[in-house]
Amino acid sequence: MIKIKLDDSHVSVNDSCKTKKSILEKISDLLSRPSGVSRDHIFKKLYEREKLGSTSIGKGVAIPHARIEDIEYPFLSIIILDEPVEFDNIDSLDVDIIVSIIVPEKNYNDHLELLACLSSKLDNSSVRKELRQARNSSQIINNFQSDDLEYI
């Protein structure tokens, strides 16, 4: 079981970001205060990872991720866009579900477990449908309940 930080303040529903860059900035905004890491540093780490290749996993979903020094737990952030945005997607579908994690630098294993857990959850079409239809953050968070994750 992986302990991970998630609450309402990490979630943005009906978001109107228009570009990949503004999405990464939004994630950095959402996670900066709870994690205590500067917005610029989170952005830099997420941006560096995207330069290696898009974190789009297809079907309108992206999982931007980065490992960051000086945080104690992983943090999860979720953005649902009103209009899909070009995200260097690996398929023809632009992205409207963005589930982002920042993970302590040393927790390589947790990082991979989280990626695997989130991607298999988001591979479920009914989960994607519910996320797209959700109108508030608690509806979003409900979709991320899992036996493998403990939200703290």
């Binding site: 290696l52 974190t55 996993i57 690996i90 294993n109 991979l112 990626l115 695997a116």
Partner: protein
């Protein structure tokens, strides 16, 4: 469904080749992850990580694992990954990655041949 790619290399080689290939090609059309292996890493720990990466990257089309020099720890780890749909090619170079980038719609078997061809074509006397 598209093949996923995992680079298993000594230290930062994979990252630098991938950054350069992405910059030359203009984009990276694949879902790619990097696993760097350093002298102080325990092979068994890294093998476990590699298997987790492969599991994450496999969306049904399989995973192409590219590694640097044959017979060393990264390539030994790559070839020991226990996973159903996987192909491993050693001898990673820029030409190999660029050739793979040209064929995002190929199957795993076809893509592993493109990797091999690209890698070999990249070595020549000039």
């Amino acid at each position: 469904m598209k093949v996923g790619i995992l680079l298993v290399t000594h230290s930062d080689i994979g990252k630098q080749l991938l950054l350069t290939a992405t910059s030359v090609f203009g984009k990276n059309p694949f879902q790619v992850e990097l696993l760097s292996v350093d002298n102080y890493d325990q092979p068994n720990d890294v093998k476990e990580l590699a298997e987790k990466y492969v599991k994450f990257l496999d969306n049904g089309a399989g995973v192409l694992v590219l590694t640097d020099i044959i017979g060393t720890t990264p390539s030994n780890i790559a070839s020991s990954i226990n996973h159903g749909k996987i192909k491993v090619v050693a001898g990673l170079n820029l030409s190999m990655i660029l050739n793979v980038f040209n064929y995002p719609e190929k199957t795993l078997d076809q893509l592993s041949i493109k990797a091999l061809e690209g890698g070999i074509q990249g070595v020549s006397k000039i």
